[in-house]
């Protein structure tokens, strides 16, 4: 499955909107097969903050962990957010 973050918006900033995004997307996550890989695509995202990411990406990362691949992470705020979540979650991929 490919999760295109731009479908949730291009300025992904607040906690409530991250939480809402996860709630809305939960039915899709429940359909993922046991061995299916998940690609999270950051293409088109202009602003990402740790608050939004912590509500949406952190729970997905906890649930699927090594099956997750992140692509198109060149945006400066995406890089900075992933870096701070990495330090906090102390994981390699998020």
């Amino acid at each position: 499955m490919i999760i295109q973050l731009k479908k949730f918006g291009t300025t992904l900033v607040s906690r409530p909107s991250g939480k809402e995004a996860l709630l809305a997307f939960r039915p899709m996550l429940n359909q993922i097969n046991e061995n299916e890989e998940i690609t999270i695509d950051f293409e088109g995202v202009i602003v990402l903050t740790p608050s939004w990411a912590d509500e949406f990406l952190t729970p997905i990362n906890k649930q699927f962990n090594e099956r997750i691949q992140l692509i198109n992470t060149d945006n400066s705020s995406v890089k900075a957010t992933l870096s701070i979540l990495n330090q906090i979650n102390n994981k390699n991929n998020l």
Binding site: S14, T49, S51, D54, S76, S77, A80, S83
Partner: protein
């Protein structure tokens, strides 16, 4: 060096006045330094700098006045975001405008992310619990390339006291907020917003003035010293000025 004294370079940054001008003002007595360095280097009292900073009439000082005043006052609707939705739409509008003149996926994405974290923090920590006026002050000062944010909320000390009851000063609370992963919203895995803000500022051509209660912090690119100073007059809630220092 005592945190009550400031080097001329930092005074220049805080006031937006060149070092040459500060030297001239020192000689003429218009704005005097206190020389204490072994080579006669100029140092200034933080209280003098603070008074100078707060004396000009500009949007920064309207925000400071708003958070200092006992009961607050009505703000122009252009600079007041009562709810998070209003803040989000104005933040996106600012992102669009800045994107016309600066790299959208570079410095603009970072400065909007920092403003988004600080602004949303105000709503996150005060929802249903604003002491008097809900919402935030939000303004972009185009001339000085600065984003001004302020709220009349609980402030960092009250917020962190929920999880660290032993805290008793805004300076201690501010230091923790900028260095440790901790949240005033107990039992939630959160509390990394200001660490993110610090990391982005230190690694990019940006600077930040941040105040909560009577604690004041100035951080800039390549400076991780985190010197927190005490101001003369405390504020309610938080105040932040994010400045874009260099543009291509």
């Amino acid at each position: 060096m005592s945190s009550k004294l400031i080097k001329i370079g930092e005074v220049s940054e805080l006031l937006g006045i060149s070092i040459d001008t500060l030297r001239r003002w020192d000689k003429s007595g218009k704005f005097s330094s206190v020389r204490t360095g072994s080579h006669g280097h100029r140092f200034y009292k933080f209280s003098d700098v603070e008074a100078k900073l707060n004396s000009a009439t500009n949007y920064r000082n309207i925000a400071i006045e708003w958070v200092r005043s006992q009961n607050g006052f009505e703000l122009d609707s252009q600079i007041y975001c009562e709810t998070r939705d209003i803040f989000q739409s104005r933040l996106e509008a600012l992102q669009f405008e800045l994107g016309k003149i600066l790299p959208l996926e570079g410095i603009v994405s970072l400065v909007i992310a920092v403003a988004g974290e600080i602004g949303n923090n105000s709503y996150d920590h005060n929802l249903g619990n604003w002491p008097d006026i809900m919402g935030i002050f939000f303004y972009y000062d185009e001339k000085n390339k600065s984003i001004i944010l302020a709220d009349r909320g609980q402030g960092i000390l009250s917020t962190l006291k929920h999880v660290r009851p032993e805290l008793n000063s805004s300076t201690e609370a501010m230091k923790i907020a900028f260095t440790e992963t901790i949240s005033g919203r107990q039992s939630e895995a959160r509390g990394n917003g200001l660490k993110f803000v610090k990391s982005v500022i230190i690694n990019n051509p940006l600077s930040l003035d941040f105040q909560t209660g009577n604690a004041f912090l100035h951080i800039k690119q390549n400076d991780s010293s985190l010197v927190i100073r005490e101001t003369g007059i405390p504020i309610k809630g938080c105040f932040a000025k994010i400045k874009i220092e260099k543009t291509p």
